[in-house]
């Protein structure tokens, strides 16, 4: 429950989701008896600490008849516990001078507090309370139902192109649970009974499904003692955690559709199925993203926005997920340009990658940009805590925070051309045109 942003925003704002910096990030990690994984990074330069828990549950774990559950929990988790009255969670955190928030993706849900470092124990207690015995009752559920509906309107329905991710994913997946997105459907949240919410917590909000990641001005020994105090006696989950094994069959034919929205200028979406995060092809696709759309001299921006002036904006975003995700390109036409023209311009640039040369100089630029992104990424304690948890939870290797740069640097020009040829094909994509509602003829 909070002012949280959906994970999506981060995805769209950031470009290359990557890693490592010049100085090595040291950390300690271990498991508690109840299966909870703990990662600690000490940095005493500023007297603050980031306390976070990542739960390995996202919208893909949901029942198709109950979409929106994972994200709804993100709201419920601020409702308190037997020891924290309703509405107190915020107050206690604020009283400690802390800021807190949460976000939900297709694969995981992330909660954090950033506190003055003398409040570490409080942060640990707060997180342990809602993991151990969250308050779930009809009052809280009712309130948050209303709030989530307004969130949906504000972030999706009342915002131009706001349905983009939802539309793209629902067109790209036929059987995999990525066919719906974390915001889900209000209708299902309305239908769900209180017991269903309680069961969801008992299943996924358990120590053996959580990673506690702490970064900042801490004393490792003291931190460990407090972690033992507040987390050791939280029992392991007894219910079976459902991890979808369903594999989306290979798309054989281009999917194409039109979405009518409250917009002025048409937009074009091209979404290509791409491999899961962490695979070798994934790193090549990340570099490809930089080539295409990172910076004023990048291929799409230079050619389509600056030279041809067909678009007011073009971007490329690899939505890399635990299971195969989507490589998404999105452009808004300049006034007077048709979506067909913009689509052709994007396709021409993709074709050039496959057939024409990528020079060593351009390739060096991609490496320099990637290095710069990596260095910047770990400049905050909350960024470090989240990345450590991500690397552990997805890859079982938190040290990727130091080493994944090598995986980017290993990518060759040939690799980039290969993945372009392999994934950026018509058969493998969804193309959506966003058109103003006024252009809709006939029908409803």
């Amino acid at each position: 429950m909070k002012k949280k942003n959906l994970f999506l925003t981060c995805l769209l704002l950031g470009t290359v989701a990557c890693c490592a910096q010049s100085g090595k990030i040291d950390f300690t990690e271990y498991n508690l008896d109840n299966g909870m994984h703990v990662i600690l990074h000490q940095d005493n330069t500023t007297p603050i600490v980031a306390v976070s828990i990542m739960y390995h549950v996202g919208s893909k774990n949901e029942n198709p008849e109950r979409t929106g559950f994972a994200h709804f929990f993100e709201h419920l988790m601020f409702e308190g516990s037997p020891n924290i009255k309703r509405g107190e969670y915020f107050k206690i955190a604020q009283n400690a001078g802390a800021v807190n928030n949460a976000n939900t993706s297709w694969d995981r849900t992330f909660y954090f507090e950033i506190l003055p470092s003398n409040q570490l124990e409080l942060g640990l207690w707060l997180e342990s309370e809602r993991l151990f015995h969250l308050r779930i009752d009809s009052t809280g559920v009712e309130t948050q139902r209303g709030v989530v509906k307004e969130e949906r309107k504000q972030s999706y329905d009342n915002r131009p192109y706001g349905s983009l991710i939802e539309q793209t994913f629902s067109h790209a997946y036929k059987v995999h649970p990525y066919r719906w997105t974390p915001i889900g459907s209000a209708q299902y949240i309305d239908k769900a009974t209180l017991q269903e919410f309680i069961d969801f917590h008992d299943t996924y909000y358990v120590p053996n499904n959580a990673t506690l990641s702490i970064s900042g001005d801490i004393d490792i020994k003291q931190a460990k003692e407090w972690i033992k105090k507040y987390y050791n006696d939280i029992p392991k989950g007894k219910k079976q955690i459902i991890r979808p094994t369903i594999v989306e069959p290979k798309q054989e034919k281009e999917v194409r559709d039109v979405v009518y929205d409250n917009i002025q200028l048409p937009a074009v979406v091209e979404a290509y199925h791409m491999p899961a995060q962490g695979t070798a092809d994934y790193y090549a696709i990340s570099m490809l993203t930089t080539l295409l759309a990172d910076g004023e001299s990048s291929r799409l921006t230079k050619s389509i926005v600056d030279k041809q002036q067909k678009a007011m904006y073009v971007g490329a975003f690899p939505i890399a997920l635990e299971d195969p995700g989507l490589f998404l390109m999105f452009g808004i036409v300049n006034s007077g340009v048709t979506p067909e023209e913009l689509e052709k311009a994007i396709d021409d640039e993709i074709e050039k990658i496959k057939t024409d040369e990528i020079t060593e100089k351009e390739f060096q630029k991609l490496k320099n940009k990637t290095e710069n992104d990596l260095v910047t990424k770990y400049s905050t304690q909350s960024g470090i805590a989240e990345s450590l948890a991500n690397f552990y939870m997805y890859y079982g290797n938190a040290n990727l925070i130091n080493t994944s740069i090598e995986k980017y640097m290993k990518v060759t020009i040939e690799d980039m051309k290969t993945v372009a040829k392999k994934y950026l094909t018509k058969e493998n994509r969804v193309v959506l045109y966003y058109l103003p509602k006024s252009e809709k003829k006939g029908g409803n």
Binding site: K2, K3, S22, T46, P47, I48, N83, G87, F90, K91, I92, Q94, N95, G97, A98, V99, I114, L115, P116, S117, N118, L120, E121, W125, F132, T143, G146, V147, E150, K153, Q154, S155, D157, N158, P160, D217, K229, D233, Q264, L265, D294, G295, E296, S297, S298, K302, V305, D306, Q309, M312, I332, S335, K365, N368, N372, D373, V375, Y378, S379, T380
Partner: protein
């Protein structure tokens, strides 16, 4: 034996687990860490460029923020030109084309953004000098080209196009117009027309006039020492020529004398973007600054009162916040949220409630201490970014603050009292001098918002903040609808003929406020055709108008006068009970003109022609059938808030506009069949 041992072991674990932790005890903080504000060094080049350096070697990166400090510029018919000139800055110099600039910046993995007020750039330490070379080339040798201007104009026009459907952008733009007016630089915004008016010449002129080192600050943050920076800055910015920069003065906008409701209509909206706003004087770093910030934080500067009320208590919204923004010239106050259409008015009611609560009740020590703890925490957390220290340095210089302003910040924050908050609330919160502004679906929200306007009227604006009269667009009526059917629907809507004819007399008591005085209106009506209206103040009748069925008189301080001729004719018609049931009998001609929008509602327009030839117009809500407006020669009357009295509906809110004057009557009571005596309608001479 073994068994017992195991049992004891389990028992002891259980017990120790139990004894170990009482979860209801909230952990107490350790000793407060010392909050150290990083230091900065400063020096000035001979051309006047003021440089600040904050060393921070945590990551191998250097960030530059070059900021020009000039008076705001009124751009009028070329609104948007300084922004465009800012963008033009990175499109070419005397030696680099745009392609070269783009390539040079991207190749070193740097970022460099230009704007009308300066340049922001960063790069890894190892590329530092290459970045400085590009920056210095841009700042000193920019060369604007028509083809690049054309591109930016095209992009900007497309951007304006998309903004037409972004409620948040519309709210920002029109909110600024409301608060500051279009004759003040902060109230201006670009339009298609003003963008097309922009020439290369005015952009170049702006760059040549305002981009001078003597009005510039350069903040350098990151992995660089003062000793390294000094010679580099001298090398790259020493040759930048100083010059005289013009100054300007404007009449400072003030908050409105009474609250005004305003709407930008978005017929497809599923949410209203609401804002209660007004301009507010608050100079950065002034004596009130910290206290006023505490006051605003209690209200809505975080997840506090507004958030708790509108979101956690009422589920109106995903979030509700307020801002009290300081500014050297004129700041502002804004309380805002995105709420569903049906609760748009309730959301404003709650915002006003929370503003008034702060003005009438002192905040408890407990709440105040929480707010101060929170603000202390966020201040400390902000220090994680070395950029914060650079901003502190810039503020101290720009606003002429004491050098230890930020060092003493936490001490001054801790000293704020509940009395201070109370004083600040009464000084800076103006619930009765605000714009009650919504971007949303007018048809759903307009009627209910009118009550927030001192005059009961809604002002409509287009997305550029130009006033619009949505009420002139006459649409044709559906087949089958006639003047008779509309009037019949109205009669049914207010209770039906059967009930209306049983009404023998009606007494309506109303009240209004005019220039700070409360006036009471008591109106009496008796079948078939007697009427009387008394206007009183403090129980004293100031004015009385009566018609006994034959003659009409007006009594005031000036004495009693008989009403004759045209005015008498008008009163005769007004006096007829249930005139709607007998237009034809009274020789009143009715004509259905069409459908118009009135206060955001579609309404049938019925034109009435009196036997005298005088004309008037009534508007009936298409949906509810109720009469919502009457326009006569003397002025316009709006009816709203219909309530049931003995099975008949009466409007409880009546807003009248007569020429420049407007006022709103609130109905206090309606009584039916009190057996009013005929003597009440006798003329007292």
């Amino acid at each position: 034996m073994k068994k017992i041992f195991a049992l004891t072991f389990i028992l002891s674990i259980g017990l120790s687990g139990f004894a170990q932790l009482d979860r209801s005890i909230k952990p107490q903080p350790g000793p407060a860490p010392i909050v150290k504000i990083g230091s900065y060094e400063t020096f000035v080049l001979s051309n006047g460029l003021k440089v600040f350096i904050v060393e921070n070697h945590k990551i191998p990166k250097v960030t530059y923020n070059l900021m020009l400090d000039y008076d705001p510029i009124l751009e009028k018919t070329t609104a948007g030109y300084t922004d465009i000139a800012g963008q033009l800055l990175r499109t070419g110099t005397s030696t680099r084309t745009k392609d070269q600039i783009d390539e040079d910046i991207d190749f070193i993995g740097a970022t460099l953004n230009t704007s009308s007020t300066g340049i922001h750039a960063s790069a890894l330490t190892k590329h530092n000098e290459r970045l400085l070379a590009i920056m210095s080339d841009i700042i000193m040798n920019a060369q604007f080209k028509q083809e690049e201007l054309d591109k930016i104009v095209k992009q900007t026009l497309s951007g304006l196009e998309t903004e037409k459907n972004e409620p948040a952008s519309i709210s920002r733009r029109v909110g600024a117009v409301l608060m500051y007016g279009k004759d003040y630089p902060y109230g201006e915004s670009a339009t298609e027309e003003s963008i097309r008016n922009i020439t290369l010449d005015i952009c170049t002129q702006f760059y040549k006039t305002y981009f001078k080192p003597n009005i510039a600050y350069l903040a350098i943050v990151g992995d660089i020492t003062v000793a390294e920076a000094k010679p580099l800055i001298e090398k790259y910015f020493g040759a930048w020529q100083k010059g005289d920069v013009p100054t300007s003065k404007f009449v400072t906008p003030v908050a409105p004398t009474a609250s005004t409701a305003a709407i930008v209509d978005r017929p497809n909206a599923v949410q209203s973007v609401i804002s209660l706003c007004y301009p507010q004087q608050l100079i950065p770093g002034c004596d009130d600054a910290i206290k006023a910030k505490v006051m605003n934080t209690v209200l809505g500067g975080g997840t506090f009162r507004l958030f708790t009320n509108l979101r956690e208590k009422h589920s109106f919204t995903y979030g509700a916040y307020s801002q009290l923004n300081s500014d050297e010239l004129i700041g502002n106050f804004q309380a805002s949220a995105n709420v569903r259409n049906s609760v748009t008015d309730s959301a404003f009611t709650e915002i006003l409630y929370e503003m008034n609560r702060l003005r009438t009740e002192k905040v408890t020590d407990e709440e105040l201490s929480m707010i101060k703890n929170y603000m202390t925490g966020t201040f400390s957390l902000s220090l994680e970014s070395p950029q914060t220290v650079a901003n502190f340095a810039l503020n101290i210089e720009k606003y002429k603050l004491p050098k230890d302003y930020y060092v003493n910040y936490l001490k001054n924050l801790a000293a704020v009292t509940s009395d201070d908050v109370f004083t600040m609330a009464n000084k800076y919160l103006k619930p009765n001098n605000a714009y009650i502004f919504a971007v949303g679906k007018s048809a759903d929200i307009a009627e209910k918002l009118s009550k927030f306007s001192a005059d009961g009227k809604i002002k409509y604006y287009d997305i550029y903040g130009n006033p619009v009269t949505t009420e002139n667009k006459i649409k044709p009526v559906p087949v089958g609808v006639t003047a008779e059917s509309v009037i019949k629907k109205y009669v049914v809507a207010i209770g039906g003929e059967k009930k209306l004819v049983k009404v023998k007399d009606v007494t309506i008591k109303m009240t209004t406020t005019m220039q700070g005085m409360t006036l009471n209106f008591d109106s009496y009506r008796k079948a078939p055709n007697k009427i009387k209206t008394d206007v009183s103040m403090n129980g004293m009748v100031m004015q009385s108008q009566v018609y006994d069925g034959v003659k009409a008189y007006m009594t005031s301080m000036k004495g009693t006068e008989e009403i004759k001729d045209k005015d008498l004719e008008s009163i005769k018609i007004q006096a007829v009970s249930n005139i709607e049931l007998s237009y034809a009998k009274n020789n009143i001609h009715t004509k259905l003109v069409g459908i118009e929008t009135v206060n955001g509602k579609e309404a049938y327009n019925i034109e009435l022609t009196m036997p005298s030839g005088a004309k008037s117009t009534d508007y009936y809500d298409v949906e509810t059938g109720l009469r919502i407006r009457s326009i006569e020669e003397q002025g316009t009357t709006d009816f709203a808030d219909y309530k049931d009295v003995n099975g008949i509906k009466f409007p409880f809110s009546i807003a009248q506009e007569m020429g420049p004057q407007s006022f709103k009557l609130q109905v206090i009571s309606v009584e039916i069949n009190k057996k009013l005596a005929d003597t009440l309608f006798q003329i007292k001479k």
